[in-house]
Symmetry: C2
């Protein structure tokens, strides 16, 4: 199937802060051509299901400009570079956003957030045995820390209070694997 | 928290086929400004967990240009317009992509695919009592139909063979609710 659709041109249309927009020209199996959007997320990202000793999960609440409201998400962030291993990024983002360190991150799942037009990839890890450290957010990052039971978080997914795709996927993958 | 970050400008940078790219200027709580990417998905989308009488789920395999490989996903697609109800879109996409109709779609979850920079929203429904009809794909759509057990699909999520965020979230949400 990979052979049947062929990209014949990729044109950069706009270079953003974290993503770039391209127009791809593809040749379809019937010989016709089509123009498809392509959004390149330059660095990829990692996210963490961070489990406190009492079983509650550490969550971050932050304002999301794209949705014009705040969201409840698992700690996550982009890699510093394409070379940063995802597990290093996960440990770093966990500490930056929550003020907890973890020395034994465990791989959970990988997701591609929106395959129709973007290459963004997020690797999700589980962190237990959290060690209190110090929160140190990026200059334009404002997050509030919360802790909730898994039961509550799962209920909020079905009630539509948690909709962020990486968070929905990660919490349900964690529940299905460990509970 | 919604009050603390304020958008002061939104500039259209490029108009794509299904998404548009903007640069937003936001004022942060400390008074400084920052420039953030914003990708607008114009129509929103719907997706379907389609359950065959034997319990297997109908899946579509298609080439994804953004990932440069094919993916296994639940049937899904964009709304025809901002006015199309998500449940109508779900029923339409199910029939177009799989050739099955369903008269009683049941709401499962809502996701926002990538909250850091895009407003894309997908509502996910469950379809049972499928009625054979006729597949009729869009001119630039090439998909292959497959059916797999829930157990197999869940295993593939943990093995990294299924990574599409809506598919991971929907399959696990379905399993957690009904199994």
């Amino acid at each position: 199937m990979e052979q049947s659709i062929k990209r014949i041109k990729r044109e950069l249309k706009y270079q953003g802060a974290i993503v770039d927009m391209y127009t791809d020209t593809v040749e379809l199996p019937d010989g016709k051509t089509a123009q498809w959007d392509y959004i390149e997320h330059r660095k990829g990202a990692a996210a963490v299901v961070a489990v406190l000793p009492d079983g509650k999960l550490l969550m971050v609440r932050q304002y999301r400009n794209a949705l014009e409201r705040d969201t409840l998400e698992i700690p996550a962030g982009a890699r510093n570079s394409k070379e940063e291993p995802h597990i290093v990024c996960a440990a770093r983002e966990l500490e930056e956003e929550t003020g907890y360190r973890c020395e034994n991150l465990e791989y959970l799942i990988s997701i591609k957030t929106t395959v129709a037009f973007c290459n963004e990839a997020i690797e999700v890890f589980v962190a237990r045995d959290l060690i209190p450290s110090k929160q140190h957010l990026d200059p334009d990052e404002y997050v509030e820390l919360e802790a909730h039971t898994l039961e509550e978080l799962v209920r909020w997914i079905y009630e539509g209070k948690i909709q962020d795709s990486k968070t929905v996927a990660a919490i349900l993958a964690y529940k299905n694997k460990y509970e």
